[in-house]
């Protein structure tokens, strides 16, 4: 402590302190009278596509120059960009993990994968398949560790998040229940969606405070029904267009469709051949559209039911058609521009989601405490990445 030095805040009103005699106000500081305490306010996102463009393409160049070694650092910079620019009460979220933290897990997983792909050298039939099955059992553990690692490395102000899911909880809610949902031809999918979203929500903490959330099952089924109707409508439209196109190729098929000769005729026609490629593309777009629509509806249900201990409430106003449109149009634009618009598309979708997420804070959010825990290793994060798994809060 230095007793001789003067605190400019003490004498601020007299004009002392600061290079120009004034203490400049922090640009992100919300004036006290405008603070959205006890009323809902949307999250802000201050990043721009141009900023992300620079980050992504410099990342790609560095990954190429370092023959892939930069990848963990690239992931960290990407996550920092999105989290840091996501602001609540003027303060951005901080992603605290370093590239070196991720590199450690990434190295272990890379070595395991090299070993896995080298298994055929041993010459034992189905050894690789057997090991694959064993690795499936590792995934619930890995996804748990991944969620915990990323939660503990995410902080708002100086309080970190945490994830306290269990192996069997993750295996049931994140793998088996969704699988049962699909195997039941979608009948149990809304149940699985609720289970998955609520499991993730109630396993999260912010410092010492717990999250909770229990949405009504009927509302999840309502979302499922609306998504199903949308899917049926779109598939009927595509089927109608395909039938018209087939009839345009060979009118005789109207009387006797789906014969071998008929199919051969279609395949022999250039337009028919183009149709063969177009139909899977259209079905994929329908899948994305309906997926985006369903995701938006279930997200709203979960977020609206979410509570943080202490009285903080959340609200999601994502529009189903809005998100579905963004997902599909982003994809089309990314493909057309050979990937050049990927940064723009990602910022666009992220900004849409943050702007439509609202939080009702309490008492300036000053009273939360960190749990002072270690983040643990990043192996789970790397396994999750290798398996293409990504589940986030």
């Amino acid at each position: 402590m230095s007793g001789q030095l003067q605190n400019p805040f003490v004498t601020m009103s007299s004009g002392a302190g600061g290079t120009d005699g004034k203490i400049p106000r922090h640009s992100a500081t919300t004036p006290r009278e405008d603070r959205p305490v006890n009323r809902f306010a949307a999250l802000e996102f201050s990043g721009t596509a141009r900023q992300f463009f620079g980050i992504q393409f410099v990342n790609i160049l560095l990954i190429l120059v370092t023959v892939g070694i930069w990848t963990p650092w690239a992931r960290v910079r990407k996550r920092r960009f999105f989290y840091n620019n996501t602001r609540f009460l003027g303060d951005g979220f901080d992603y605290l993990a370093t590239g070196l933290d991720l590199f450690k897990g990434w190295s272990v997983v890379t070595l395991i994968l090299i070993g896995f792909y080298a298994l055929p050298v041993l010459g034992i039939p189905f050894l690789q398949e057997g090991v694959s099955l064993a690795l499936v059992a590792v995934y619930p553990w890995a996804i748990n560790r991944s969620l915990r690692f990323n939660a503990r490395n995410l902080a708002w102000r100086d309080v970190r998040f945490d994830f306290s899911g269990s192996y069997f909880g993750s295996a049931w809610y994140l793998f088996l229940l969704p699988l049962i949902g699909v195997l039941s031809l979608g009948i149990l999918l809304p149940l699985a969606s609720r289970g998955m979203r609520e499991y993730v929500a109630r396993s999260y903490r912010f410092g010492t405070a717990r999250f909770s959330g229990k949405g009504q099952l009927a509302r999840y089924y309502g979302a499922g029904l609306r998504a199903l109707l949308l899917a049926v409508l779109l598939i009927v439209m595509v089927t109608g267009l395909v039938v018209l196109a087939v009839l345009a190729i060979d009118a005789s098929l109207a009387a006797d469709p789906l014969t071998m000769d008929g199919l051969a005729n279609i395949l022999g026609d250039d337009f028919g051949l183009a149709l063969i490629y177009l139909v899977p593309v259209l079905l994929f777009l329908i899948f994305l559209l309906v997926g985006g629509y369903y995701r938006a509806l279930t997200r709203n249900i979960m977020v609206n039911a979410l509570r943080l201990q202490g009285g903080v409430r959340f609200r999601s106003r994502v529009s189903g058609p809005g998100l579905a449109w963004i997902v599909v149009s982003n994809l089309v634009l990314c493909v057309v521009t050979l990937g050049l618009l990927v940064p723009w598309a990602q910022v666009r979708q992220y900004r849409y989601l943050t702007r439509h997420t609202e939080i009702r804070p309490i008492a300036d959010m000053q009273g939360y405490l960190d749990r002072q825990i270690q983040a643990g290793s990043s192996i789970g994060d790397a396994v999750g990445e290798a398996g293409g798994l990504e589940i986030s809060f």
Binding site: M1, S2, L5, N7, P8, F9, G17, T19, I23, H26, S27, A28, T29, S46, G47, T48, R50, Q51, G54, I55, Q56, V58, N59, I60, L61, I63, L64, G68, T71, R77, K78, F81, N84, N85, D91, G92, D94, L96, P120, V121, G123, P125, F126, R157, D158, V159, M260, L263, A264, L267, G268, L273, I276, L331, L338, G339, V342, M365, Y368, L369
Partner: protein
């Protein structure tokens, strides 16, 4: 010089406004002084940890007091960098490099497209180089393993009469004499596979599998030999191994270019890679067709057998079992007949 920010008390969400001031410490040195809005005293501090600005995010400084000071992205914090721990200075320099104007965006776009074009051009030579570097023993072991797995799942013992097998093996021996010495140990395996149908295939090593169904389907020994010569062409040109290695180059290349992205774009670029690989696979098929035609002629057999087989297949199943198209591994029968005619 002073930097005004928001100070979060260590391990809490409690915060206050604060100023970090650079003061002269004499003899050219400088020190940092922290002043807080909620305390009368000022405190000399050092910077213990830095999360550099990324994009439009704030600069986050962990001070020696344990508290966190956030400085807004719009603030010029370069004069503070000499107080940063070493690695953080690199992060700050990288941030400046990432901050691009519209000219930078154009330049990076061109570089990105050049990288994609480079990957496209590198697939064949890099994959072929890897195939050449692969030790024969490993390839042979992998090939044997694939055959063992197929035997346990799809393939059964051949039911062709011994006489037919002997005759075909004899012709196969003659083919081996035409191959380069390193392929003289290529093996012919007879198998029965109702689930697959009339076919033959070459494995990545020196193994060729002929299915009974092909022999009974054609009822024409020249056609069977032409197909075997085609498969031998795949072996001598190492098509299977080269295709595997080219696929690996595509997978690694895509992983490096967009793998850090954690998005559906990896699948989209992967689809593009598959289009390229399918095109190269079709080229391999045409190449093997030409080897077959050449060898049939040199063996004194009917060089027209292969086109005849393609025509028969066309007639038997029309367009349904024809190859061709952007995603197909084999060219269409029409293209193959045309290529052989030329």
């Amino acid at each position: 010089m002073q930097f005004h920010g928001r100070l979060t008390k260590a391990g809490t969400t409690g915060m206050t406004e604060a100023v970090l001031r650079v003061e002269d410490a004499g003899e050219g040195g400088a020190k940092l002084i922290l002043t807080r809005a909620d305390m009368a005293d000022v405190t000399p501090v050092t910077i213990a940890h830095v999360l550099p600005k990324v994009g439009g995010g704030d600069l986050r400084l962990r001070l020696s007091t344990g508290d966190v000071l956030r400085l807004p992205a719009s603030m010029d914090t370069a004069p503070l960098e000499r107080f940063f721990p070493g690695p953080a200075r690199f992060g700050s320099r990288l941030t400046r490099f990432e901050t691009v104007g519209w000219r930078g965006v154009v330049l990076l776009s061109v570089l990105f497209l050049l990288v994609l074009a480079g990957l496209r051009l590198a697939i064949a030579p890099a994959g072929d180089l890897l195939a050449r570097l692969m030790p024969d023993t490993l390839v042979e072991r992998a090939s044997g393993l694939v055959l063992a797995q197929l035997d346990m799942t799809l393939l059964e013992d051949s039911r062709l009469p011994d006489e037919t097998q002997r005759r075909l093996t004899g012709e196969f021996e003659r083919m081996r004499l035409l191959a380069a010495p390193e392929f003289a140990n290529t093996r012919l395996h007879f198998r029965n596979a109702p689930a697959i149908g009339p076919n033959a295939f070459a494995l990545p090593g020196h193994d060729i599998v002929l299915l009974d169904e092909l022999v009974t389907f054609t009822d024409d020994e020249d056609v069977v030999l032409a197909v075997l010569a085609h498969e031998f062409g795949h072996v001598t040109e190492q098509h299977a191994l080269r295709q595997i290695m080219r696929s690996a180059v595509v997978a690694i290349g895509i992983g490096m270019i967009v793998g850090a992205d954690e998005s559906v774009i990896e699948e989209i670029v992967g689809f593009g890679g598959n289009l390229v690989l399918s095109g190269q696979s079709r080229a391999f098929e045409l190449e093997a067709d030409l080897v077959s035609a050449d060898w049939m002629q040199r063996l004194g057999r009917d060089a027209e057998a292969l086109p005849r087989f393609f025509r028969k297949l066309q007639e038997e199943c029309g367009g349904l079992c024809d190859g061709g198209g952007l995603l197909a591994s084999h060219p269409s029968f029409r293209d193959r007949i045309e290529a052989l005619a030329n």
